[in-house]
């Protein structure tokens, strides 16, 4: 039996938001946990053999070789955010290592809770060694009371070794005063698979991120799936980038974006540097109330034998579809929510059931509230 995760000082209402972010305080269906409140690491452990969940500080003390992975995927001088995180005397964050051949069916949960007007900084390093399979759900949330000036700076570096796989599902359930600046990059080696899923259904002041996967190894695969809803005061600037270097590597970048009056910048870039590579980028946007969905899909092919494609569409709900459902007895609101729910429904190949269910459940909560 896993012990309960204690989250001292988190109100019932905030715990509810944690649950929406996929964090399970009872640890049911989770094989390990990392919990950071503001700047305090409250919890870091894992019960799965072969997988370690450590605080950044402990991990650096324990494994000297981790230096080889520190600021290697992400450039510490990239921008103000990375510089800020790199300049910390007492860095926070987690290191998750799936040792050679290990496998977790139940995901590890990483919870980052922001409870006051401060900059929460984390530096995470996630490594799946040869043949390992690692599934992580990262739930980020903040206290309902937190005012202006609260921000989250998160650097994450992923290393997916030969024949290894990492799925990283990040569910943001922030509140409307929070600014969020994740900076993440991954390096995928031969036959490695990296799945990155991002869900943001609740109001947030600002999100800005552009995670990059470099597919170095032959036949490596990256799949980014992004589902965002922008509330009237939200500014969400997200993207994903795949650099196809290894022969036979492939990437798929899928986005569903809805604005209810806020701004969504949906970026995407696939760079095909090697023959025999394939990439596809898809962004579908729905404008429910006047707002902005600005899609910038870029495909950048540099050699004969790379095949890249993109499709982007921004539109409105089709009246014909709404009325079709109304003719079946659904009210206009029910029909609208049902169609939006369908729009957001993307099934992610290779994702464990528990995580797909969590993504679905997070969207269901938004559906129940009428989006």
């Amino acid at each position: 039996m896993s012990p309960e995760l204690s989250a001292p000082g988190i109100s019932k209402e905030d715990q509810e938001r944690l649950v929406q972010s996929g964090i399970n305080l009872s640890m049911e269906n989770r094989c390990g946990s990392y919990l950071q409140m503001n700047q305090d690491v409250v919890h870091a452990e894992c019960h799965q053999e072969g997988i370690e969940v450590l605080s950044y500080k402990k991990a650096m003390e324990k494994y000297n070789w981790l230096k080889e992975y520190n600021w290697k995927a992400v450039d510490k001088d990239k921008d103000e955010i990375t510089k800020y995180v790199a300049a910390q005397n007492d860095p926070k964050g987690y290191v998750i290592i799936a040792h050679k051949g290990s496998n977790n069916i139940l995901p590890i949960q990483a919870c980052l809770y922001l409870g006051r007007e401060t900059i929460q900084h984390v530096h995470n390093i996630i490594i799946a060694e040869e043949g390992a399979e690692l599934h992580i759900i990262s739930g980020c949330t903040s206290g309902g009371h937190v005012g202006q000036g609260a921000a989250h700076y998160g650097v994450s570096e992923f290393y997916i070794k030969k024949n290894a796989k990492i799925s990283f599902t990040m569910i943001h359930t922030w509140t409307e005063n929070i600014e969020v600046f994740p900076r993440s990059a991954s390096i995928v080696e031969e036959n490695g698979v990296f799945l990155s899923n991002y869900v943001c259904m609740q109001p947030v002041k600002k999100v800005q991120m552009y995670p990059t996967a470099t597919l170095k190894g032959e036949n490596s695969v990256a799949r980014f799936s992004t589902i965002t809803i922008a509330s009237p005061t939200s500014y969400i600037d997200t993207g994903s980038r795949a650099i196809l270097e290894g022969k036979g590597s492939s990437a798929e970048l899928i986005t569903r974006a809805i604005t209810k009056g806020g701004t969504i910048i949906s970026r995407g870039q696939i760079i095909g540097k090697t023959a025999g590579t394939r990439g596809h980028l898809e962004c579908k946007g729905l404008i429910l109330k006047d707002g902005i969905i600005y899609a910038i899909p870029e495909i950048d092919g540099r050699v004969v034998g790379t095949e890249l494609s993109h499709e982007a569409a921004v539109g409105k709900l089709a009246q014909e579809e709404i009325e079709y459902l109304m003719a079946r007895g659904l009210s206009e609101d029910e029909a609208t929510a049902t169609i939006i729910r369908g729009f957001l429904d993307i099934k992610i190949a290779g994702l464990p059931d528990a995580l797909q269910k969590q993504i679905d459940a997070t969207i269901d909560v938004a559906e129940k509230a009428g989006f």
């Binding site: 089709a318 079709y324 459902l325 109304m326 007895g329 049902t338």
Partner: protein, 255 residues
């Protein structure tokens, strides 16, 4: 000029009086008068583009069809200004000829939404119309003609409307499936009950008349150029059209 021949309003289900309908600025239906009693099934025929589907969509309450004049009374209630969901809740239902594809919306989920609080065994019902394997498919996405029709009748089976509008239920359907769909439609219209015991009514658009083998059609109407031009026995009208075409139909020719 034909005036209403119905005097007994006790079992009147649908009354369409002097109905004029616009799509955009253009009037597409002119002076439609139609009366359907409870237990009756009527057949609507007419050349392509004559306004048959427009009439059904208007009756169902689609907002693209603007009623500029006239009145629709359903079970004694004026539904002219009601939205589609209100009409549906009052018992009106429709089989669409070309329903929209809705990405991500699974047929099974739609059926659950349609069933509301009713207890229905959705997988079992789906199996009965050979749609068991479609519950996890996006509604109408990549469905063949026959699959669309089976999905439509499946939705109607759960909805179980009192007044069923059917827009070409046999179009695009192979013979084997016509029998399956026809049988379900027959039971939606209570064909198994004796005439006089039936309470459900129907309005069916057909070109081929195949569906007439599965329902008891009481009356037929022919539409031309947005008007109902003649009434009569549905099989006789069909025979006439088959032999001579709509062009020979005296009333249609006059327009």
């Amino acid at each position: 000029m034909q005036t209403s021949t119905y005097t007994d309003a006790v079992n009147r289900m649908l009354d369409i009086e002097d109905l004029h309908v616009n799509i955009g600025d253009k009037e597409v239906l002119h002076d439609i008068n139609l009366h359907i009693d409870a237990g009756e099934t009527h057949v609507l025929m007419g050349p392509n583009g004559s306004g048959k589907t427009t009439l059904l969509m208007t009756l169902m309450g689609f907002s693209n069809y603007t009623i500029t004049r006239g009145k629709i009374t359903y079970n004694g209630v004026d539904v002219t200004a009601m939205h589609a969901d209100e009409r549906s809740k009052r018992g009106m239902g429709m089989l669409f000829q070309r329903p929209p594809t809705i990405s991500g919306l699974k047929l099974g989920k739609l059926l659950t939404a349609i069933s509301h609080d009713k207890t229905v065994d959705i997988p079992e019902l789906a199996k009965s119309v050979h749609m068991g394997g479609f519950l996890e498919r996006d509604i109408n996405k990549g469905f063949s003609g026959g699959e669309i029709k089976r999905s439509e009748v499946l939705q109607l089976m759960i909805q179980n409307p009192d007044f069923v509008m059917l827009d070409e239920p046999e179009s695009g359907v192979d013979l084997e499936n016509i029998s399956l769909i026809g049988t379900v439609i027959g039971s939606l219209l209570e064909k198994e009950k004796r005439i006089g015991k039936r309470s459900k009514s129907g309005l069916v658009i057909t070109h081929t008349g195949f569906i007439l083998d599965y329902i008891d059609a009481d009356k037929g109407h022919v539409m031309c150029d947005g008007m109902i031009k003649c009434h009569g026995n549905p099989r006789e009208i069909l025979k006439d059209i088959k032999q001579r075409g709509y062009k020979e139909c005296l009333e249609c020719r006059q327009s």
